[in-house]
Symmetry: C2
Subunit: 229 residues, 2 copies
């Protein structure tokens, strides 16, 4: 199987499937048909089958998918059968919000180190029990704590400088929340979070709501999107 | 043209194309081939042509796309030829970080109102010049300021209550940063931001880096992703 040929969008859909399967599992549902799962994830069932087919055969014809089993397999594919250690750099509002957000821990991502340059912040204990360290100790602490992924939450002007330090360690995975484009050497993976891409989809949907789809209508087709990405 | 048939992923890619085109435009580049644009956006050129074909004919055979023109057209398609007024509810760390993030204004999204229930926060002036209002004035202020989209940055336990108030106004577009699933009546559009979906893609990429792709290699294929979503 050539992993490099698998489209990024398929990987993103696998993430969505895991969120849906986890929710179904928490409701104690054991088996689901690909049609029902597709409906739940807001894709078509052929898409689910195609995405899974990149990685092997799943599900039982005429029965569907065993939820716990499929969840286990997708998590293994995505590399989520292990915990990932995160270091966050930049403990302003965004950094603090990310540390406190419950989604990370729920999905197996653990903040094990936090850094800032502000002497007033250094030493402060965060809600998850770790304390803010000075950026000068980035390499030492990241090696000690076996950090896999660096989360960049610095102001735009500082992001590249920080990333240069990260790639020196080297930490190969970088999640960038700053609004700046980052340059990294080959062999590193950077993903950029741009909240406004999601807003563009919302703007598009709102721009093309037909008058009959508007609130206060009665038997309109549902335009309400699934809560999943 | 049936807007409802256009896949959500195509809309997300249009967003990515606008980010790329804006960057190229800022570099004063006038024309780009679909191959070059595809490379820039990390998709294949057939994909770009297919995505644009949903909406009409763009580009000149043998020449490529005129950047300003294509940017104008895609923004019109996405509904970004107008400014969108946002209200943010929940002025904790995340709310403050979002208000301060430069990407929103750059893409035509304007925070015109902010709400919280904490008496200590109410009345505080934010960096963009607006002040925090009490949640009890949500309807009045949102109607006055012609809010199009509500951004939910409350703790999980409060999100549904706030959304019920939002759908009463009614504001039809909701961007949800809280980690809770939201229920809305028909005719409303909710998009959920889950940072961890992007982390899953990063985890997948890191899990499947071949040893030869690792840092310190020399002539490895580039595994470095584009900065765009």
């Amino acid at each position: 199987m050539k992993f490099s040929r698998i489209p990024a969008a398929a990987i993103t859909r696998l993430s969505r499937y895991t969120r849906a399967l986890e929710e179904l599992d928490s409701q104690n549902i054991k088996v689901i048909s690909s049609e029902k799962l597709a409906e739940y994830c807001d894709v078509n069932s052929a898409q689910i089958r195609k995405d899974l087919a990149y990685f092997g055969e799943f599900g039982v014809r005429g029965v569907g998918y065993f939820i716990k089993e499929l969840l286990f397999e997708i998590k293994r594919i995505l590399g989520l059968h292990k915990e990932w250690n995160l270091a966050i750099i930049g403990m302003g509002n965004l950094g603090c919000a990310l540390i406190a957000h419950s989604n990370f821990a729920k999905q197996g991502y653990r903040f094990v180190a936090a850094f800032d340059v502000d002497p007033d912040k250094i030493g402060r204990i965060l809600p998850n029990g770790i304390s803010i360290s000075p950026l000068s100790e980035l390499k030492k602490i990241c090696l000690e704590k076996e950090v896999d992924i660096a989360v960049i939450a610095t102001p735009a002007g500082k992001a590249q400088e920080v990333v240069n330090m990260v790639t020196e360690i080297p930490i190969r995975g970088i999640l960038n929340f700053s609004p700046s484009q980052l340059h990294v050497p080959e062999g590193f993976v950077v993903h950029h979070i741009d909240f406004t891409v999601k807003l563009d989809r919302l703007a598009y949907r709102l721009s093309h709501l037909r008058p009959s789809d508007r609130p206060r209508g009665s038997d309109n087709p549902p335009w309400v999107s699934k809560h999943l990405l």
